[in-house]
Amino acid sequence: MNWKKYLLHGIAAGVLAAVAGIIFLFIYQHSLGVSYEKVINPVAIVASSLFGCMLMAIGYAVLEKSGKERLKGLLNVLIALLSFASIIAPISMSLPLDTPNPDLFPGLAIPMHFFPALSFLAIAPFSKGTK
């Protein structure tokens, strides 16, 4: 059992997702002339990306420890489904009333909900051989 491999996988994926999220945040806000700084900021993006990716890494590690690595495909599907289901949060949340253009907020937050899963699954093949 190589916990270090999964720790590195989780951290690397979290950092990648956070970088993508922060770049997307700046592009989105700049191009549409909106600001959601009271709701979402780079620190929150880094924290949530690392948290999500570490959860996925723990899932992978648990499967390996229990000798059920064949179920990783199923876990990948579950990760994708949970990412999709999580978009209900930005759609239904109410922003502070002094935040203009709340209708444009889901367009920012929904793609970000897929970044952790995307980066985790994208680098999963590189993590396989690590000892």
């Binding site: 109410s94 502070p96 009333l97 935040t99 709340p102 444009l104 907020f105």
Partner: protein, 176 residues
């Protein structure tokens, strides 16, 4: 003869002035510092675009009156989807009925402040409502504060999952 005419004219003006009503003070709403909030189960938010005529004098309530409106298109619940639903054809229909209007017909003093009775118009429905309010004035400025409730179904505002009783809170800073 000329002096008599002048005397008669002056007497008529004096007599006429006894029946002239003294208007209540006219107040202007301070832009960007007022708030019109609503709160019910499943939705809460604010409306902007508050404008109209506010004539108020605590010592001259018979001449005091409100004729004000808010812009339905400014409704903000903090959620874009709810905003769109609220402004939609099957709720406020903001395109056809862009304003909510209140016109007072009577003002009275109460133990805690005042009460304005008048007609509230939402969409095509006009209902009598009473709005209790307070007024704290100092010099050329003051603030009206009022809280009241309406039943949205009285105004044919139908939506499942949204509370029927809507609490409304008004804070309107004004200046002369």
């Amino acid at each position: 003869m000329k002096a008599t005419k002048f005397f008669v004219l002056a007497a008529m003006l004096l007599a006429g002035s006894a029946f002239t009503a003294i208007n209540a003070t006219s107040w202007q709403v301070k832009e960007d510092s007022y708030s019109v909030k609503f709160d019910t189960k499943g939705a809460s938010g604010i409306m902007k675009g508050f404008k109209g005529t506010i004539n108020f004098d605590a010592n001259n309530l018979p001449q005091s009156n409100f004729d004000v409106s808010v812009d339905v298109n400014t409704i903000n619940t903090g959620n874009g989807m709810k905003n769109r639903h609220a402004k939609g054809e099957d709720f406020f229909n903001a395109e056809k009925y862009p304003y909510i209007q209140f016109t007072s017909s009577k003002m009275e003093k109460t133990a805690t402040g005042f009460i304005a009775t008048g007609k509230l118009k939402i969409k095509e429905t006009v209902k009598d409502v009473s709005i209790p309010f307070t007024f704290a004035g100092a010099g050329n400025e003051g603030t009206f504060k009022g809280n009241f409730e309406i039943n949205r179904t009285d105004f044919k505002l139908e939506r499942r999952g949204v509370g029927e009783t809507v609490a409304i809170e008004l804070v309107i800073p004004v200046k002369k």
